[in-house]
Structures are given as structure tokens and as C-alpha cells.
């Protein structure tokens, strides 16, 4: 098939009608936007669950504001507010007739069982339905064809299915909140035997739906990763050699490989768990000769690559944005690619560091210790090479740039706190405390989420053809940055003080009572952080319709997506571009402008153009 007929055929599947354009679209850009929308909706939900958890930790067993019963009602039993009368009438019903709310939080007080479901579902939703759909689903789908210079993904139908299967998975996951017994309450790590038998938690179908939803989601991710890998290997524009690929494409390529190899392990483990629960097998049940530690090995064999699936796209986005706004090439392109590849490789041989206190032989433990320690080296290369990119630049502090700098700084803190955990002697002390909670949030919120902010602000003009409101975006950035640190930094102190995670009421512990004020401070900061995100949502939806019209290349960037029209039409490019340069030829000598598009045929005078 000639190029011309291929284009014609491709463009001809731009059928008309609402369903094919917005719902079951085969266009990678629409699918990317759909993943973004899914992620943002789930972000509101996952964040809301976290705020409920925080309320309970700061004000244990006190009624929630607004929906909780008044103090007067609690003391006297006389209804004072509208909510009081609601609780009063609900509580007088029999258990079968009571509404959902009163079962989860009678008079607005979160019950222990609901609290356990809350922290379980907060983590599950954030990891699987927010960060993965946005970083991998949205950015992966939107950027890969545009940045490697092709018209769409290799398998558009598979791509569409991948999104809709993710939606089905999400629906199954949310259904878990409404089944008798409540939603899964075994932590996002779902350790057996707690997760194998309803007797231990009182949760029955919640846990089953949790497993089934994640198995279904695994199918969706697998489809996406096969698509990404095939597209990147086969469909790069002429001249787009591997070493001319933008860093974010490298990151997504490596992530797709990780997903392809890691997810089947989780799927297998989940299937075994479902069999244990429903079919009477005993893979993880010692009473039948199984071993609960088997689950931990399988889960973390998936789980550690998963953490890199969450952070590598963020590294890619940052490596994209820093050169554009420093007007300099990325410092050490090859080392940056190698560092990501070695992080991905190392992620396969470190899973045991999640299990130092599970009772493994120390010789085994030491192997995991040294492999984990070595992660510091590629991480240091990345960090200092980002600094090298700033060095001697001409830095513009746009909102994407601010968020990327936040990513770098927060990644430094999250990375360094990781070394504490690699050192098993210290890990055994801080394991299962708030120190771990602080660490994971510095990596996944401080890292991944700030990278999501950076990416949304950076590519929004291309996606929707309009600029986002900059002053509002700056307010959002600074408030988020400050509230984030106020929320999560003190958790390090809680953790070293012995404050365990996943506890319903810290005030039950005499020696944790001294942390009451700190817990209240963290909760207030968390609410501020949550409310700040409404600014982002407003900005996104407002700018989509009312923003200033954006040109094709508002940031004067080199990579291919900026050579397409804004917003890119179906099929992306008028003609497939030819690539002449590495992606970060900024301020090249002999070029009149301080940027040099990858498609520009001009050669810099030092012959650096490859």
C-alpha cells in the first residue's frame, strides 16, 4: 500500500458522528484525552478518600464537618441541624433498611471497617486509576505518535478497547463500595491470609471485586503496552533514530516493556487469590500447605517495577521540559537514557527490600540490600544531569518549568529517603511506619503528580489549541508545592517517632499522643492541598473553552508534536515529517534562532546536528 492510499484510508476512518468522535474513537489523541479525563475524575475520588483518612487521624472518632452530627445531638440526642435529623431517622431504622452512609459512618464518625477500606481504596485508586491512566494512558497515547512522527498507533482498535476495558475495570472497582460487607480492606498490598478469608476482615465481595477489577485492568494495560512497543519500534518517522527519540518517548518505551513483563505476574497472583477465596485452593493458606509469603514475593516482584512505571514517565516529562525552558540541550542524553534503562533493570531485582522484616535469610536480604543501594547511582546521574541542563542556561520560569523543578527537588527527597529503607537495619525500624508513607508520597505525589501537572500545563496548548491561564496556574503551583511539603514532610518525623501506618486511632497509643498536633497540622495541609486542586480543574475546563488561542509552537520547542497543526487534525501531519536532528538542539551555534526543530534541515556550524 502506498503512502498516499494509506493516508487516504486512515483519514477516511475519521467517520462522523458523536459516538465515533468522542466515545469509541480510534484516534490516539482522543483516547489520550479520555484517559486524562478518567484519571482526573478518579483523582478527585482518590483524593477525597485520603481526606477522610486524614480527618480520622487528626480528629479520631469525631463527626466529620458538614455531614456529621452536631455536638449538641451527640450529647443530648436532640436533633439541632438538618444532618442531625437525618442521622436520627437513619439510626432508628433496622439494620437492613439503613442507608449506605449510616453503615459507613454513623453520625458522621468513620467506623474502623470503613477506615480500613478507605486507605486501601485510596492507594488502589491513586496507583491504578490515577497515576497510571494519566502518565501512561494519557501522555503515552497522546504523545507517542505525535513525537515519533506518525499518524496513529499501530493498533487503533486495540487502543480504543484498552481505554474502555479500563473504564469497565474502574466500574467494577467502584461497585465494591456498595456490596454488603464493604469494599476491600486489606491494604493495597492485599496480604494473605487477611485477604484470603472473609472471616478475618468481614469483607467478602469487596475483596473479590478488587481482584477482578485489577485482573481486568491488567488486560487493558497489556493492550496499551503492546501497542506502545509496536508503534515505537516500527512507526518512527524517517530519520527518527532511537538516539534521536525525545526522552519522554524513551521513558514510555521502557515503561511499556516493564508493564508487559510485570503485569502478568500480578494477574497470576490475583487469579490465585481469587481461587483461594472462591474455589477452595490454598496457594496462600498455610492450613492447606500454602505459603502467605508467596504472595508477598509475587506482589512485590510486580510491585517494585510498578513504582518505576509510576515515576519513569515523570522523569521523561521533566527531561522534555527542562531543555525547552533552559534553552539548552539535555545534559548527557546518552547517560540519561542509560540511567532510565538501568533503573528499569534494577527494578526487577530489588523486590525483597519490601520483605526484610518478613523473615528472610540475611544472605538473601543482603543481596536485595546491595541491588537497592545501587539504584542511588542512576538516580544521582539523572538528578545531576538535570542540574547540568540548567547550568549556564537561559531559564524561563513558566508553569511547566516550575512544576518540573518541583519534580526534581521532590524526587531528591523521595530518593534519599529511599536509601534509609535500602539499609535493612534502619528499614526494620521504620518499616510499616509513616516514614514509608512519607517516602512513597514524595515519590508518587512529589514526583509523578508534579510531573503530571508539568505535562498538562506544557502540552495543554497542543491538546486543546488554547493556552491555560498562567497567573491561576502559578497560584495552583505554589499552593500545591507548599501544601504538599507541609502535608508529607512531617510524616518522616511521625515515622521515626514510631507512628505506624494503617492504624485507625493513633490516640489509643500513649506514646503517639504527643503527635496529635502534628497530625492536625498534616490534616489541615492535606485539605489545603486537596482544595488547591480545584484551581487546576477549573483552569483546565475554563481554558479548554475560554483560553487564549495557542499557536502551533508556543514554547519554541524542537520536537515533532510542535510541527503539527494546533490542535492536530486526525492523522496528525499533512505529510510524514523527516527528522534531521536530535531533539534538544537549543542555542546551537550558527543558527539564528535559539531552537532548531527536529525537522529543520539547517545544520549548526559545529556539526552537532547528527
Amino acid at each position: 500500500m502506498s503512502e498516499a492510499t494509506a493516508v487516504k484510508e486512515h483519514i477516511s476512518h475519521e467517520h462522523h458522528g458523536f459516538m465515533n468522535t468522542y466515545i469509541f474513537s480510534l484516534d490516539h489523541k482522543m483516547i489520550g484525552k479520555q484517559f486524562l479525563l478518567l484519571g482526573l475524575i478518579m483523582l478527585l475520588l482518590g483524593g477525597g478518600l485520603a481526606l477522610l483518612v486524614r480527618w480520622q487521624l487528626a480528629y479520631p472518632e469525631q463527626p466529620l464537618p458538614l455531614i456529621g452530627a452536631s455536638q449538641h445531638y451527640l450529647e443530648t440526642g436532640e436533633a439541632e441541624t438538618a444532618m442531625d435529623s437525618y442521622w436520627d431517622s437513619e439510626l432508628s431504622k433496622t439494620e437492613d433498611e439503613q442507608g449506605w452512609l449510616v453503615q459507613k459512618m454513623p453520625v458522621g464518625i468513620i467506623t474502623p471497617a470503613f477506615y480500613n477500606a478507605l486507605f486501601t481504596m485510596h492507594a488502589t485508586i491513586m496507583v491504578f486509576f490515577v497515576v497510571m491512566p494519566i502518565l501512561v494512558g494519557a501522555f503515552g497515547n497522546y504523545l507517542i505518535p505525535l513525537m515519533i512522527g506518525t499518524r496513529d498507533m499501530a493498533f487503533p482498535l486495540l487502543n480504543m478497547l484498552s481505554f474502555w476495558i479500563a473504564v469497565v475495570s474502574g466500574a467494577i472497582m467502584l461497585a465494591g463500595f456498595f456490596v454488603p460487607g464493604g469494599h476491600a480492606a486489606t491494604g493495597w498490598t492485599g496480604y494473605p491470609p487477611l485477604s484470603t478469608d472473609p472471616a478475618w476482615t468481614g469483607v467478602d465481595w469487596g475483596q473479590n471485586l478488587w481482584c477482578i477489577s485489577l485482573i481486568v485492568l491488567g488486560i487493558s494495560s497489556l493492550m496499551g503496552s503492546i501497542n506502545y512497543i509496536t508503534t515505537i519500534i516500527n512507526m518512527r518517522a524517517p530519520g527518527m533514530t532511537y538516539m534521536r527519540m525525545p526522552m519522554v518517548i524513551w521513558a514510555l518505551f521502557i515503561v511499556a516493556i516493564l508493564l508487559l513483563l510485570a503485569l502478568p505476574v500480578l494477574t497470576a497472583a490475583l487469579a490465585m487469590l481469587v481461587f483461594d477465596r472462591l474455589a477452595g485452593t490454598t496457594f496462600f493458606n498455610p492450613a492447606g500447605g500454602g505459603d502467605p509469603l508467596l504472595w508477598q514475593h509475587l506482589f512485590w516482584f510486580f510491585g517494585h517495577p510498578e513504582v518505576y512505571i509510576l515515576i519513569l514517565p515523570g522523569m521523561g516529562i521533566t527531561s522534555e521540559i527542562l531543555p525547552v525552558f533552559s534553552r539548552k540541550p539535555i545534559f548527557g542524553y546518552k547517560a540519561m537514557v542509560l540511567a532510565m534503562a538501568s533503573l528499569a533493570f534494577l527494578s526487577w531485582i530489588v523486590w525483597g527490600h519490601h520483605m526484610f522484616q518478613s523473615g528472610m535469610n540475611p544472605s538473601m536480604g543482603m543481596t536485595f540490600m546491595i541491588t537497592t543501594m545501587v539504584i542511588a547511582v542512576p538516580s544521582a546521574i539523572k538528578t545531576f544531569n538535570w542540574l547540568g541542563t540548567l547550568w549556564g542556561g537561559s531559564i524561563r520560569f513558566t508553569v511547566p518549568m516550575l512544576n518540573s523543578l518541583a519534580f526534581v527537588s521532590m524526587f531528591v527527597i523521595g530518593g534519599l529517603s529511599g536509601i534509609f529503607m535500602a539499609s535493612s537495619a534502619v528499614d526494620i525500624f521504620i518499616h510499616d511506619t509513616y516514614y514509608i508513607v512519607a517516602h512513597i508520597h514524595y515519590v508518587v505525589f512529589g514526583g509523578s503528580i508534579f510531573a503530571i501537572f508539568a505535562g498538562v500545563y506544557y502540552w495543554f496548548p497542543k491538546m486543546f489549541g488554547r493556552m491555560m491561564n498562567e497567573p491561576l496556574a502559578k497560584v495552583h503551583f505554589w499552593l500545591s508545592f507548599i501544601a504538599f511539603n507541609c502535608t508529607f514532610f512531617p510524616m518522616h518525623i511521625l515515622g521515626v517517632g514510631g507512628h505506624m501506618r494503617r492504624i485507625y486511632n493513633p490516640m489509643q497509643y500513649e506514646f503517639l499522643q504527643q503527635f496529635e498536633h502534628m497530625n492536625i497540622f498534616i490534616t489541615m495541609s492535606a485539605f489545603a492541598l486537596g482544595l488547591t486542586q480545584l484551581i487546576l480543574l477549573f483552569n483546565v475546563f475554563h481554558s479548554m473553552f475560554r483560553g487564549k488561542k495557542a499557536g502551533d509552537n508556543p514554547w519554541n520547542a524542537n520536537t515533532l508534536e510542535w510541527t503539527a497543526a494546533t490542535p492536530p487534525p486526525h492523522g496528525n501531519f499533512d505529510a510524514i515529517p523527516t527528522v534531521h536532528h536530535a531533539p534538544y538542539e537549543y542555542s546551537a551555534p550558527g543558527i539564528s534562532e535559539d531552537w532548531l526543530s527536529q525537522t529543520n534541515e539547517l545544520q549548526p556550524t559545529n556539526g552537532n546536528g547528527h
Partner: protein, 313 residues
Amino acid sequence: MDKDFVLWPEQASTLASRVDNIYLFLVAVSVFFTALIFFLIYLFAVKYRRKSEDDVPKEISGLLQLELVWSIIPLILVLIVFVWGATIYFDSYTPPADAMEIYVVGKQWMWHIQHPTGEREINELHVPTGQAVKLTMTSEDVIHSFYVPAFRTKKDVVPGRYSTMWFKAIKPGEYHLFCAEYCGTKHSEMIGKVVVMTPADYQNWLAGGPASEPMEVTGEKKFQQLACHTCHTDKPNARGPSLVGVFGESVLLKGGRSVIADEDYIRESILNPKAKITAGYQPVMPTFKGQISEVGLLQITAYLKSLAKEGNQ
């Protein structure tokens, strides 16, 4: 902030100060690098801020020497931390030979503790100072984790197997004992305490309680009750192998493999007797699953250990 706010729990075991030292070293390293990187970001932000629209920086695409420097220095640092941390890790794993043994069974949501001398405690553990204590632990239901912040030690308590941990307390006092592994609805109420006493006070405490039967004696009774002795008779042509002197020794299995007769082996041989058959015997022993509790298993194990001592004499 509260007046008596403490940054971290007091150091009450020999391990605590060693863990804190490496922790503080890591804090120092982290603060140094965080400060360095934040300073550089700030410096570059101020110094290289875009001055005018036609401001064109020099194109620097990398510098191998620099990249080597910031690869090798972190590598050396983490190797130091590795060797240091691994030493403590090994020591914290291996109990001294003279350690006193205590048995722990976790269940939703309490700790059951059994001293070899027969004392039983719920959610409390009394130990003397200056004496290494080895805990052999298991769980009746889900995974729990035995965590004493003041000792800087923690070990998961896993159903179906024994895990061990040890500590040597250095200061008399009461210390918090928690379950650190999330274990179900009332996980946060699984609270206990470790009472550390001077050796003299400890002896008084032992003597002061209600008269109790040593674990090995209870174990021997259980051994009789369950009629174990009808097959394990110590006679040459008995149906079961003699158990005298077996504990801690290597046992030759059918098929030529051999196995060390430790707590896990004994537990398995009682609950799942056909898993490992001693060479020269038939797989005729029935399972005792459901007839004996975790504590009962530990008592029989204690009895077999006492037989081992006799056997070695």
C-alpha cells in the same frame, strides 16, 4: 508543641544505638545532598534566569568527567552504608548462643506469650536486663508483626511457620509493644507492653506468680494425651523414630535428603506428617491438625528440646 515532645523513642536495647547511629549518618548525608541540590537549583535559577528575549546560552550537551564524578561518589557512599548496615542486619538476625527463649503466638487482636518456665502472659512480656532474649513466634490467623520501637526491632509473625527475633534490653522500664503489620478491623487496638526488670526483680516476678508448670512438662503431658508415645517408643522396632536427642540434629529422610530438626520441622511433622518421612519408617502417622493449638505445638516442641538435652548428655 508539647513540652515533653521526643523526636524518637528512647534507646532501650543494645541494638538501638547502633541503628540510630547509621540512621543519623544517613540523615547527615541526605541533608548534605538535599542542601547542595536545592542550593544549585536556587543558584542557577537566579544566575541563569532569562535576561532578554535574544539571550542565547552556550550549547553544553554533556561533560563526561562531571558525569563520572556524580556517579562514582554516590556509589562509594552507598557501599559504605551497605557494609555498615549489613553488619548490623546480620547481628540483629543471629541470636547469641546463651539467649533465653520465649514463645509468642499472635492472633486477632492479642499477643499470647509463653515462658519456658510455664508463665503465660497476654499482651505483656516480662524480661530481665542484660540477658539476650530470643522470641520464637507464630500466628494463629493472619500476619502480625512484633514491634517494640524502643528496641528498634520488628519481625513479622507469620501463620504456618516460626519466625524469630532477639534483643537484649539495657534499661528497666515499660516499653510499648505493637502489631506493625495491618491485621484487620481492630489492628490498631493490638497493643501491649514489654516490662524490662533488673535480673533480681525478674526472679521475684517469676517466683511471685501463681505456681506454673514448665513448658516442657506441659508438653510431655500433651505428648501422652495425644498418644504420641505409643509409636515414638524409643524401642528399636517402634513404628515411629525415637525423638530423644533429635532436636537440632540432622535427620536422614527417605530418599536420601536430610533436614535439620528445628521448630518448623517438628511443627510440620505433627500437622503434615507425610511431608518428610524419616528414612527406614513407613508413612503411617496421621495428622494432628485441629487437635492441637499453636501454643500446644510450642509446648511439645519444648518437651522435645528437653529430650534433646538429655540425649546429648
